[in-house]
Amino acid sequence: MEIHHHQYEAVIVGAGGAGLSAAVYAARGGANVAVISKLYPPRSHTGAAQGGINAALGNLEEDHWEWHMFDTVKGSDYLGDQEAIELMVRKAPEIVYQLEHLGLPFDRTPEGKIMQRPFGGHTRNYGEAPVKRSCHAADRTGHMILQTLYQNCIKEGITFFDEFHVLDLLLEDGVCRGAVAYEIATGDLHVFHSKAVLFATGGCGRIFSFTSNAHALTGDGLASVYRRGVPLEDMEFFQFHPTGLYPLGILITEAVRGEGGVLRNDQGERFMERYAPTIKDLAPRDLVSRAIYLEVREGRGIGGKDYVHLDATQLGQAIIKAKLPEIADFCRTYVGVDPVKQPIPVKPTVHYAMGGIPTDIDAQVIVDDQGTPVAGLYAAGECACVSVHGANRLGCNSLLDIVVFGQRGGVRLAEYVKGADFAPLPPEPEAWSVSQIERFLKGPGDHQEKIGALRAEMQELMMRDVGVFRTEEPLRQALAGLKALKARYQEAEIDDRGHRFNTDLLEAIELGNLLELAEVAAAGALNRQESRGAHYREDFPQRDDANWLKHTLACKVAGQIEFSYKPVSITKFQPKERKY
């Protein structure tokens, strides 16, 4: 294994929508920046986003940022930070126009403006009725955003290290010094000495078994900073998207319901009318997912099984072809269902981590309730928690989040590196990474435990005990189970002992990250004794603002998880009961 050394003012880890936005604006701000990504940038999971990106453009009907703000705050079950939300929604129209100016091919209205459609939880006049706010390009909006941003990075001449897997953050005395990456093609290590690092490594849905998240979404960035003593915020809030294609978990966008599709149980009943009389099928995801689970529990799943139907047959061939072509393709390819003629089988699928690395509105990582920053450390996108999504994210607000805060992070990064020096590297910066690799490459070879089997056990356990409905006892069992899995992970071995493209090794390292994060999520779920947004405790079914209107910070101290808290920023909207 060779060790290579690089120096860049700023390093961005991750090349999805957040990382690429940051890169464009860091470069424009004059920073000498490198982007490191374990996937080729256009393979990032931002490309999977289907439905759209929100902005109150009002292209088709009246809309205002204040309405968007209210919906986002209410959708977050009042846990979202209102200062950050206000900034994001006020900035949204400018961000969407900027994307258009960068070449993004949005769908168009007859007048040639950006096309918009309704989405879950987005309403007119503070909850009256659904509003057309989601700007989209068919059901490929994420693909178009990812492509457009990557194209503009090429235009800016940004340096990429493609298929480099970051293993470790170099952080000492509260000052960021760079990162260590593993070159997948060769097995060499690369030490990146930098003044600043921005993590944009996306989600960690792979801690669960039934998910819309890519195999690559293993939370590496979250785990890397967590191991270095930075807390993670609100990790107990995991979004289950109501409509995962049964039995695979592939996402069927909310746009199907935005365009007029409805959910039906075994009796053909449009059951959302009972759960959310005003906005029905376009209620926020936490509500709809719980409704589906309840229907299934009460025996109204299709044929008594654990799924329901998403009925889009009334949309007709033309709309499905023009507005939902990818979805139709998925249904036909994977389950042989033609959504023009037949209902789509769906079940809630693990989708989005509301929690993440705590940051301020400039993507600067902060570690406590005092706003204490880690010098030179930034995070943006799904791996960060600003928090604009609070306890439950609304559809089409993540693409907005990643571009808004990716961009702010990039701008801030460029400013920061102008005024900062390179902090010296620690004596053996690659030591921890080398030890991780060697443990797997030089194991005794008697194969006690297999990575794939351990991962499957963890995913099943999380699904069963840390899912849509949670209670104390199963959560305690989950924590005990995870502890046992972590111990067995220490004995696990891999088959591939080579240096070239060793994905066996990388999957093993990723599992280490997943186990760490699964534990934080389960511990946070046990700790939070209330129900809010996506976190639903059957033994504490009410929201408890008196005790729990606060963010959780989970920190690793001497191998144990310690919790502390941070207040929620409440400016315009006082917490109210959440009804739809």
């Binding site: 999977a48 126009y97 258009e100 949005f106 690559a216 998925f330 297999k450 794939g452 591939d496 240096h499």
Partner: protein, 232 residues
């Protein structure tokens, strides 16, 4: 059902030549080939190496030759192949290991056509207008996920590695037919140069194989026409 996989393996750290290895496993007919390959990796042989991420045909990671045809492993179901399945790396680009090919040349060619929006006029405060018809004009080529299937299915590319290949031309088409873009003058020289569109012999392998259903040959033909028209 029982499935029989025959996979072309090559690890240059150990092997002098590629060789075939065979695996048997229980699968559901509705499973993806990708699922089966991962089961083999996770349960039988961890050294089997492939790229994958999204597992539903949108990231372009797992293009490979399956039963003789270029396909995405995650968009190919076992039931459409039968119980005997052969898997090889894409042809025409160097193999790094097993099913992993080296995409360096592919992305260099992609970059050579200037795959980004060019319009130096100051933008309006809102969106640039584009009619639904103008938008539809280049819709097909916006779908490209850069999976490499078309380029590595092209006999012209196999024979002459200087050829840009269909994927790069598809990307050029996406901008050339976008009413807002003004970069044609910069792109057309690359497209009309020696390795450019004129190499295409309309074999249609690319169109047949594209997992996004893009009319690749049609896009190349449109770029050819544009070049002819410009020259007149």
């Amino acid at each position: 059902m029982k499935a029989h996989f025959k996979i072309k393996r090559f690890n240059p750290e150990k092997d002098r030549e590629p060789h075939w290895e065979e695996y048997e496993l229980e699968v559901e007919p509705t499973e993806r080939v990708l699922d089966a390959l991962q089961t083999i990796k996770w349960e039988q042989d961890g050294t089997l190496t492939l790229r994958r991420s999204c597992a539903h045909g949108i990231c372009g990671s797992d293009a490979m030759v399956i039963n003789g045809k270029n396909r995405l492993a995650c968009k190919t179901l076992i039931k459409d192949l039968g119980s005997h399945i052969t898997v090889e790396p894409l042809r025409g680009l160097p193999v790094i290991k097993d099913l992993i090919i080296d995409f360096t040349d592919f992305f260099a060619k992609y970059r050579s056509i200037k795959p980004y929006f060019i319009n130096d006029e100051p933008p309006p405060d809102v969106e640039r207008r584009q009619s639904p018809r103008q938008r539809a004009r280049f819709d097909d080529t916006t779908k490209c996920i850069l999976c490499g299937i078309c380029t590595t299915a092209c006999p012209v590319f196999w024979a002459d590695s200087r050829y840009l290949g269909p994927a790069a031309i598809v990307q050029a088409h996406r901008f050339l037919f976008d009413s807002r873009d003004q970069g044609a003058e910069e792109r057309l020289p690359v497209l009309s140069a020696h390795g450019g569109v004129w190499k295409c012999r309309t074999v249609f392998n690319c169109t047949d194989a594209c997992p996004q259903g893009i009319d690749v040959t049609g896009a190349i033909a449109e770029v050819k026409k544009l070049l002819l028209f410009r020259k007149l």
